[in-house]
């Protein structure tokens, strides 16, 4: 037998994990130590290439890694312990699965011989996270570890990106085995995501686009996920075709909000012009979006007169909710490149002047208008001011989930991709604050703002402590209306104004809370104070909790009522109590 003691590839499982992270270019890991990952933490302690960000709750690590991934395009890496460490990761993993965010989560597990024994801090991690990940692995042999880790990175970042999990029992972390650097054969041969779109289908799509009278481009998070090149190509396609473009919540920033062809976001709280354009179009080009139920409204009345082209990397997104005429399976950027080339070579800009005139009429309805108020800060106004006062700065926005999220999407204009981090699919309250932590770790000199609600922010408020410890100057801009605003809005609209448990009786004093965490607390209660306070927040180079007291009962419009189609939107000026009651079936009287 040869002496293996000097072979540099002989190492413990714990060392392999850190080595694999380095080999994959990982600079930051978000995590929380515990019994079953101590060997890995010991390795982390003895090196300086990978920086570990200690969170206060594993869910925070997951969302921080999501923010990190979404703002950089690189995978986010999480390290947590067995049992509760793993179960606390279920929410961020599911969130990342729904929004196609590449995450690599490494969990500790009890030693192999104790698995199935109900050991201390044991849970069936791969069983629990199977439907919450793109794929997961339990590694029982240290000699499989390198291959599995490399495969995990590959699966997370290729095809439709998503979260993966590698569960490593403690004895495997201690055991010594052979490491090898990433290589092609580390990947399941059964996993072959398609990147390039079918040329015939692309030709068909171009012919449809060239003959369109009332076209629309509907883009989504897939364009962002595909990388900056895809957004560039999307902009070129809009330029070359002259078509109007709208986007999902996840796709904001792929096309600039200041662009002339921009219609605003579509869907349940999208603009009137975006939804009407979708409803009345004759050709729809969907790029990297998935016809989700917040977008379509009632499916049988969704854009009834249009031919639909759908570009998606995931075949299971095709024809899931809406039947499409020309599916193109491939990476958004790759297909857009081919499509643009064929369009430029074989087609010319169709004349859609009449369509733009129609759109101008819809735009004139000014569906995002709200009544101004000099005494109370309206949440829409607060976002508008935040947007104006951060314009031109290197800004990243995260959000929690609820009314404030929709207002942020409506009133904050995004010019570039990767600047907008929000929980779209899963709708996870508590996402924004830890996500801001992750974004700030990736972009230490940028302005990172979490637009939050008073209810959401409390779900992960403990991560303020992380921000303070790692000197991450995140800004938590809380639109404080003392309600779970979106829950209350639905109770008002759908449940006879019975506000069941949507009011927070005992909110903390956010300014004092900031003080307790060792960060800065600011408050604005009047519109006249707002600009000054926002400027102060921006100028402070420390974490800030900003308590922005806004109108308590403001609701989010426009809105597609439940079970209605795009052309049955409720506009703000129409949203009188009576009209609202009528628009919502059940027709319950509103107080």
């Amino acid at each position: 037998m040869t002496d293996k003691s000097h072979d540099p590839n002989q190492m413990t499982g714990a060392a392999m994990i850190v080595r694999a992270l380095i080999d994959h270019g990982v600079q930051h890991v978000f995590g929380y130590p515990g019994g079953a990952v101590l060997p890995i933490y010991d390795e982390i302690f003895q090196q300086s290439e990978v920086e570990h960000i200690l969170v206060r709750h594993e869910q925070g690590a997951g969302h921080a890694a999501e923010g990190y991934a979404r703002s950089t395009g690189k995978p986010g890496v999480v390290l947590v312990t067995s049992g509760p460490g793993a179960t606390n990761m279920v929410t961020p993993l599911t969130d990342a699965l729904m929004d196609s965010i590449p995450l690599v989560c490494i969990t500790g597990q009890v030693p192999t011989h104790l698995i199935g024994n109900d050991a201390f801090q044991e849970c069936d991690t791969v069983g629990i996270t199977r439907p919450a990940t793109k794929h997961n692995w339990l590694v029982r042999d240290v000699n499989d570890l390198a291959r599995v880790l490399h495969e995990a990175f590959y699966v997370a970042t290729t095809g439709r990106p998503g979260p993966v999990l590698v569960d490593v029992p403690k004895d495997v972390q201690f055991a010594t085995g052979t490491y090898h650097p990433p290589r092609k054969s580390d990947v399941h041969i059964s996993y072959t995501p398609r990147v390039k779109g079918d040329a015939t289908q692309i030709r068909k799509a171009v012919a449809m686009l060239a003959n369109a009278k009332r076209p629309v481009i509907y883009s989504g998070g897939g364009v962002i996920n595909s990388g900056p090149e895809a957004s560039k190509l999307l902009r070129q396609l809009v330029e070359a075709t002259g078509f109007p473009i709208t986007s999902t919540l996840m796709g904001l920033g792929a096309y600039p909000a200041s662009g002339p062809n921009w219609l605003g976001m579509l869907g349940m709280h999208g603009t009137y012009e975006a939804n009407m354009t979708m409803h009345d179009c004759d050709v729809m080009l969907c790029v990297g979006a998935r016809f989700d139920d917040r977008i379509t409204g009632r499916v049988d009345a969704f854009s009834p007169g249009s031919k639909k082209i759908h570009i998606d990397i995931d075949p299971s997104s095709i024809n899931k909710n809406i039947r499409v005429d020309v599916p193109i399976i491939g990476d958004a950027g790759n297909v857009l490149g081919d499509l643009l080339q064929v369009f430029k070579a074989e087609a010319k800009k169709p004349d859609i002047k009449a369509w733009w005139q129609q759109i101008a009429q819809w735009r004139a309805r000014n569906s995002l208008s709200y009544r101004k108020n000099n005494d109370i800060i309206l949440p829409q106004y607060a976002i508008q001011r935040l947007f104006e006062l951060t314009r031109g700065k290197d800004t990243y926005i995260t959000t929690e989930v609820g009314q404030h999220q929709m207002w942020a999407a409506q009133f904050f204009g995004f010019e570039e991709p990767h600047r907008w981090m929000t929980s779209g699919g899963l709708g996870t309250m508590g996402y924004g604050l830890p996500a801001a932590v992750g974004v700030q770790v990736a972009h230490p000199d940028s302005l990172v703002i979490d637009i939050a609600g008073d209810a959401s922010v409390q779900m992960t408020i403990q991560e303020m402590s992380t921000a303070v410890q790692f000197e991450l100057p995140i800004k938590i801009f809380i639109l404080n209306n003392q309600y779970m605003g979106m829950v209350r809005q639905w109770q008002q609209l759908l449940h006879g104004n019975r506000l069941s448990h949507s009011y927070s009786e005992a909110l903390p004093d956010f300014v004092k809370l900031a003080d307790a965490y060792g960060c800065v607390g600011l408050q604005a209660t009047k519109p006249s104070d707002l600009d000054g306070a926002i400027k102060e927040m921006i100028s402070i180079k420390r974490p800030v909790l900003f308590d922005c007291r806004v109108a308590a009962l403001e609701n989010c419009f426009p809105m597609i009522p439940s079970g209605k189609a795009h052309n049955e939107m409720l506009l703000p000026e129409e949203a009188t109590d009576e009209a609202t009651a009528k628009a919502f079936s059940g027709g319950k009287a509103l107080v």
Partner: protein, 180 residues
Amino acid sequence: MNQPASAYFLEERHDPNETHTLSVLVQNEPGVLARVIGLFSGRGYNIESLTVSETESQKHLSRITIVTTGTPMVIQQIKHQLDRMIPVYRVVDMTLTGSSIERELAMVKVRGGGDHRVEALRLADAFRARVIDATTESFVFEITGNSSKISQFIDLMRPLGLVEVSRTGVAAITRGPEGM
């Protein structure tokens, strides 16, 4: 449209259901069957029958045969959802190939005497079922065929003293020289 207060569109589609047989070639690794079954339960798909066994042990390949029902859109979804799982090599819709053979094996225990016993044996002979266990008051028949033939046989055994049935579920393969 009158739906109760909900932020979701509640009306179901009412396309007619179809029954399809899917052959799924998978890497035989721990948890692969749980993944497939979890997909069906998690997304609310039906499993009418499921058969799984390793078919090529050197390559660690298993073949899962699933009989499922759903609208054409759901069937298409099921195939895509299966296909995108990491350890899945191929999904073939045997029903769409149009020329597949489906077989199932069942063991049927019947207890009784006198005329019933004679009648059971006579029917078993007509269905080409074999007797694989016999006592003075019972038989175990082994029957192979497509699912409807087996169901028919079981129905006929019911009044003749049917005790219990064990069925394997459907296995399917295409006709002709080509593999999947």
